[in-house]
């Protein structure tokens, strides 16, 4: 507890209250006194004391009843009972009602101060424990969203290193939040009130990077019309974040090494160095050791910067964080676009969970933004997601999904929702997989090929796996004469609907047509 401890005394006799006040005067606590139980309850709720000293006999209701009400009101303070009755019964009742200790009147100063100190220490420990638990179970940390074990490890590392001056090296795929991590390190550190200066080394021409990092003197080169401090000096007292450090030219790596070793900035055109107090956080989406081994990155600089490594996991390894982040973006963009989205339907969640997200959070952000701009509904469904996402998604389990999607009709809170499978890249692959849906897709693909080149009839797809009896409307049989297109289309659409549990939007998404097309055709076929 950095602030003075708050102590509430509930005592109706002025003499007693004055004695307690005088005893605690040199304890640097904040003390408030309530003369009735009701007043004590009100102050406890409004003021959030750390400890409450409660007289048993109060004018409105007794101290034990007050303790019960405090617990009901979820007041987290430590409670100490003060009583004139030093009997075992009173002590037992006090403890049963949740008191940590009790003091018998009249009491000496030491009795009160020691009891209170013990209570406040216990309170401090329980607050710390609660904070530690919150850290372990948190699903947000500075700018990050996500509570997956992989991210909890990242949060813990950031928390651990924040207070130190050690240089940090962040690795991770593009879009995993490397700058967010660097900023979190800065904001969690004692440097938080000093500048955080990010610099993307990959975005600065090689000829300008030295000036950007270390600044320059007026006249140092053509166009240097005035002194410029540079990022390192601007970050004095704070944090310098060098993103894409692997892109830094070799000669600049030497200068950066000198800066990291000496803490001295030498602006371009100056012969006089200037000491600065800067913590360096670097990041790259490459494997830094491989860059060293390939000779593209100096080994000595690598070891200077790679003091505390933090690896940011790709989104595909973060489990249900995908949904937390997607919901966050849906809320943010939904508000911006005045849409009515309240969440994702289970089929959409299955796709989000099953997608490989090569572009990580940035890609997810774009997908949700695109969805909000192009659609409006209460629930965002799979049909609203980009077709390439539907194709790339693998089947995943979604907690609390609709029972209709359960594979065996088994009731339960977690059901398997099948995200649309990847379409086979070739008919041969499709037939080899033995997947009825893939077989259908292969057959259609072959049919399209056949239409484009009518003769000879493609032989490559004429060996589909026998379709299971459970799927009466399966792929068109290609062994015999070519069927009319309308018939193939009908059978294909009906088969797709069967596969999707008659979910028209989902089938439409897989077929890459508008749901209204299916409805119109169903009406036409009177199905």
């Amino acid at each position: 507890m950095a602030r003075p401890a708050r102590v509430l005394l509930v005592e109706d006799t002025p003499t007693q209250a004055e004695i307690a006040r005088a005893y605690l005067a040199d304890q640097s606590h904040e003390l408030r006194v309530a003369e009735t139980a009701a007043e004590g309850l009100r102050i406890a709720q409004d003021w959030a004391p750390d400890a409450i000293l409660i007289d048993v006999e109060l004018p409105d209701f007794d101290g034990f009843a007050l303790m019960r009400r405090l617990k009901e009101a979820e007041v987290a303070a430590i409670m100490i009972v003060i009583t004139a009755q030093g009997s075992v019964n009173t002590a037992v009742t006090a403890m049963r009602e949740g008191a940590l200790d009790f003091i018998v009147k009249p009491y000496a100063k030491a009795r009160l101060t020691v009891t209170l100190a013990n209570a406040l220490e216990q309170r401090r420990l329980s607050v710390e424990l609660a904070e530690a638990r919150a850290i372990i179970s948190r699903d947000r940390y500075f700018g990050f969203i996500g509570g997956s074990p992989a991210m909890q490890a990242v949060y813990r590392t950031i928390q651990d290193v924040a207070a130190s001056r050690a240089n940090v090296f962040i690795t991770g795929e593009s879009g995993t939040g490397k700058e967010l991590a660097a900023e979190a390190i800065h904001r969690a550190s004692p440097r938080a009130k000093k500048p955080f200066v990010p610099l993307n080394c990959g975005a600065i021409p090689a000829t300008l990077i030295e000036s950007e990092v270390f600044g320059h003197k007026r006249g140092a080169f053509t166009g240097a019309t005035e002194d410029r401090p540079g990022a390192a000096r601007s970050a004095d007292g704070g944090t310098l974040f060098l993103d894409e450090i692997g892109e830094m030219p070799p000669d600049m790596q030497v200068k950066l090494l000198r800066f990291v070793q000496t803490g001295t900035v030498l602006p371009v055109g100056s012969s006089k160095g200037e000491r600065v107090d800067v913590r360096v956080v670097s990041a790259t989406n490459r494997d830094p050791l491989a860059e060293v081994e390939a000779g593209r990155f100096r080994e000595d600089l690598y070891y200077r910067l790679y003091v505390v490594p933090i690896h940011l996991p790709p989104l595909r390894e973060r489990g249900e964080d995908v949904l937390l982040i997607a919901r966050h973006f849906l809320n943010v963009y939904g508000r911006e676009e005045h849409s009515h989205f309240r969440g994702f339907a289970p089929d959409a969640e299955a796709v989000l969970l099953g997608s490989p997200w090569p572009g990580n959070v940035r890609q997810l952000q774009n997908v949700v933004r695109n969805l909000v701009v192009r659609h409006d509904a209460t629930l965002a469904t799979a049909a609203m997601l980009p077709a390439e996402l539907l194709r790339a998604a693998r089947p995943v389990a979604v907690p609390s999904a609709q029972p209709r999607a359960e594979p065996s009709g088994r009731a339960g809170s977690e059901a398997m929702v099948m995200a649309p499978p990847s379409p086979p890249p070739s008919p041969a692959l499709a037939t080899a997989a033995g997947d009825p849906l893939a077989t259908i897709a292969a057959a259609l693909s072959a049919l399209v090929s056949a239409r484009a080149a009518p003769a000879p009839v493609p032989q490559v797809v004429l060996q589909p796996e026998p379709l299971p009896e459970a799927s009466p409307r399966a792929a068109p049989e290609m062994r015999g004469p070519i069927l009319p297109l309308w018939q193939v289309e009908k059978e294909h659409i009906l088969a797709a609907l069967d596969e999707c549990g008659q979910d028209v939007p989902r089938a439409a998404a897989l077929l890459e047509i508008n749901p209204s097309t299916i409805y119109r055709k169903l009406q036409g076929w009177r199905v």
Partner: protein, 115 residues
């Protein structure tokens, strides 16, 4: 006659507290004592026994806190529903004891540290 104030309790207050704090507590008790005794007289006269006992309880607490043990015992007797002593008689007893307490307190307040 034995002292009205328990030397250990009142002495502990004098020892633990700054003289100014000690004197403030003595003044607070004096105010409490006169207010509560007056209330008890009024409540006993009007027959409001519940409030009379409530005031007696407050007096017992205040008296106990400064070590006025006999006064605290008299007040506890007044707050006990099983007491057979009439309120008038108890109040006279409390009044006499209160006078003795005030005399001794004045003595303590005049020189709290040198005892």
């Amino acid at each position: 006659m034995t002292p009205a104030l328990d030397p250990e309790t009142i002495g502990g207050l004098a020892r633990d507290l700054a003289p100014s704090d000690f004197i403030r507590i003595v003044r607070t008790f004096e105010t409490d004592l006169s207010r509560l005794v007056l209330l008890m007289v009024e409540q006993a006269t009007s027959g409001d026994i519940e409030q009379y006992r409530r005031s007696a309880h407050a007096l017992a607490g205040a008296a106990g806190a400064i070590g006025a043990t006999r006064l605290a015992a008299d007040a506890r007797l007044a707050m006990d529903p099983k007491t057979t002593t009439p309120p008038r008689e108890l109040l006279l007893q409390i009044g006499a004891e209160a006078r003795q307490v005030l005399v001794e307190l004045a003595d303590w307040a005049s020189n709290p540290t040198e005892r």
